[in-house]
């Protein structure tokens, strides 16, 4: 019986594990193999060049800058999104006061919850189109049009939001945050609703204000969810390919401008892979990205590990 059970389990595992090996692990290995060659991506002829690609990578200013842009997103996307989502979720679930007895959200919280979630149903491509219209660099742009009407911006020199080295990363960051807050708000809301009301009520009776009940009760009990959110947002920050390549000034291909000020690792890699035909070199970038992401995952999981509070 026991033996049959194993066979049963193995039967179920075989297909997914095989798929995983073929479509995930094997390409990783291939990528590493290609990263040691001068492969040009258009035919199967190439030479082995050892670690040359990796040596060149260390001196590639564009790629090194791109890593820092990913780090920028890695820091700010999770922090801002999570803080905003937590704040809104708290307000929607426990922020309202007024009626005697009981803890509740601000008035109209059900409606807000739905409205906040809207951006999440948009795909990244639509998001890019939408925000291209917002950031458009002439009077036809939403922001510029508004500012020109208010007289804050001269119609002859509108702000080129995505063509300003100091602004472009923040402009992209805003898109991601706008897109993400609604989802994490709902995620945190769900978690908050599983926190027993009597804890809040007890705090209320003891005279706790909103701030205190948030920091002393809500946040500690939500830590697990926050950690999950952090990892997911970290993934978004390490990618950013779609937004950068479809919104920013074109540096040959896949956006990245002005002057590579918004390039992230994935756009640099794709540009080298397809546009420059330096596919072997791009594979080396891929391997570096894999290592960085692995390190990041380990660090995130370690840093956020805490005792789980049972309730």
């Amino acid at each position: 019986m026991r033996k049959g059970q194993y066979r049963f389990v193995a039967g179920f595992l075989f297909v997914p594990v095989a798929l995983y090996l073929i479509f995930v692990i094997w390409p990783y290995i291939q990528t590493f193999g290609y990263s040691l060659t001068n492969w040009k991506g258009q035919s199967q002829t190439f030479d082995f060049v050892g670690l040359d690609n990796y040596k060149a990578l260390v001196e590639d200013d564009v790629f090194l800058k791109a890593i820092w842009h990913n780090v920028f997103f890695l820091v700010f996307i999770p922090v801002i999104t999570i803080l905003l989502a937590l704040f809104f979720a708290f307000m929607l679930n426990a922020g309202g006061r007024g009626r005697a007895g009981g803890v509740q959200g601000v008035a109209g919280s059900r409606l807000y919850k739905i409205v906040y979630f809207f951006p999440q149903v948009l795909s990244l491509a639509i998001l890019a189109v939408l925000f291209n219209a917002v950031y458009r660099s002439d009077g036809g742009g939403l922001l510029n049009g508004f500012l020109i009407k208010l007289g804050l911006v001269d119609a002859d020199s509108p702000v080129e939001w995505l063509n300003e080295p100091d602004m472009v990363l923040w402009a992209l960051l805003l898109v991601v945050v706008w897109h993400g807050v609604g989802f994490y708000l709902v995620l945190f809301s769900a978690a908050m609703q599983s926190v027993p009301r009597d804890i809040y009520e007890a705090a209320l009776i003891d005279g706790a204000g909103r701030g205190q009940s948030f920091f002393r009760i809500t946040l500690p009990l939500l830590w697990d969810t926050v950690q999950t959110a952090w990892v997911y947002l970290g993934i978004v920050a390490m990618d950013m390919f779609v937004l950068v390549s479809s919104m920013t000034q074109n540096m040959g291909a896949y956006g990245g401008g002005p002057d590579h000020h918004s390039d992230v690792m994935s756009t640099v890699m794709m540009r080298n892979f397809l546009y420059y035909g330096k596919s072997g070199y791009a594979c080396a970038m891929g391997v570096v990205m894999l290592l960085l992401t692995l390190v990041l995952s380990v660090v995130t999981l370690r840093a956020t590990r805490r005792e789980r509070i049972e309730f």
Binding site: T31, Q249, M251, G252, P258, M265, L301
Partner: protein, 480 residues
Amino acid sequence: MGSTAHHGAEGVGRRDLIKRSAALGMVAAPGMGLLSGCASGGGGDSDEGGDTKGKTSKDNPFGAKKGSKLDVVVFKGGYGDDYAKAWEADFSKKLGISSTHTGTQEITGKLQPRFNAGNPPDIVDDSGAQQIKVDVLYKNGQLLDLSEVLDAPSVDDPAKKVRDTLIPGTLDPGMQEGKIVALNYIYTVWGLWYSGKLFKDKGWEVPKTWDDFLAICKDAKSQGIGGLAHQGKYPYYINVAIMDLIAKKGGLDAMKAIDNLDPKAFVGSDAAQEAIEAIYEVVEKGYLMPGTNGLTHTESQTRWNQYKAVFITSGSWLENEQLKQTPTDFDMKFLPMPLLSGSTLPFEAIRAGSGEPFVIPAKAANRPAAQEFMRRMLSKEWSTLFAKQANSLTILKDGVDPGVRLRPGTQSTVEASKAAGDNTFRYLYTEWYGEMGTAIEAASNELMAKRIQPKEWLKRCQAAVDKQAKDPASKKNHRD
């Protein structure tokens, strides 16, 4: 929860690379085996004389057989695919050969499996972002040498070979190891564009010198119209203006210096310096259309169509691309780059060349019909059909029937290329050195936004050239 997210983190960032390498690994490796298998089988040539080969005659040198079928695949991009449908209709009418038509943007996706399986279409317009690179197809033995078609008698004048009816130099881009395997069919000219109506309304004359050009920009600015628009999000376009100015000022030598990675291509080149200073003057004096630096090509071109700017940089695909946005009385006109004082090339000189490769697969099932089809593509009748449907010129010399009314922009390119005669030029560094091209574009983008000055621009471009020159692979490219 944490651990599933952990796995997700590994996968997402390299999604594209994984897809590609997996696809390449899976498709390419067995594909190659198939190909070599087929090639050594020797089936290809004997098929040819089978049921698709009809009687040859003077009007039908390849023996295209009545009642057979032709499989046509066309890239459906900026030029649409109506022109191909018009050809196919004519082909069916005249030769009794019907066609299956496929218009698509996914050339690679649709055709790679068919090439690998040995049943490719009979004729393909292999273009667009998802084209299968011609050199790859050639190296895999998938392409027919087009010399038979090019040496066949021309439809219009049977005394001439087809190849002698084409604009000189336009076959070159389709050459692989000395053989023409791709027919780059569309003839493109690059330069500035303006609205004839706007010029008429304002009483402006066509500017032949840079000073005249600036004067018009100034006048326009005083009336609240931008002088020059460009498709800022793609700095490729402003480089058309900059590089044309360099070539016309310094002559072909200045152009070749850049293509051949000369240590004085930019820094130390008077032509380059004067050209970039001229462009910078436009920026400094505020003659750019407001916001144009950050606009995409459609946004910018549409604004220009709305008379928000006088001039715009582009190639001759512009008219077709803007068909819907162009007012009926806009009267689109092409303008060769105005001259800086003391220029080597005349005002009429233009950047011009051929693009949009058409190929006949070596294993085409109906080769005679495909060859006949291509021969007819290079007839005046079909070339005119193309000009009418796609609003662009073909590589056929005087290839448009003068009796046919073309759209104004296309008509003006006909006149411009006639006026230019042999005074055409074309940069090759963009095809040879993508990375260097990108560095120059990045510098131009900075210049247009006034973040760097001409001196710095020259330095950055020269640095890009010098860097490229250090790459041993660049020794293979040289032009005389």
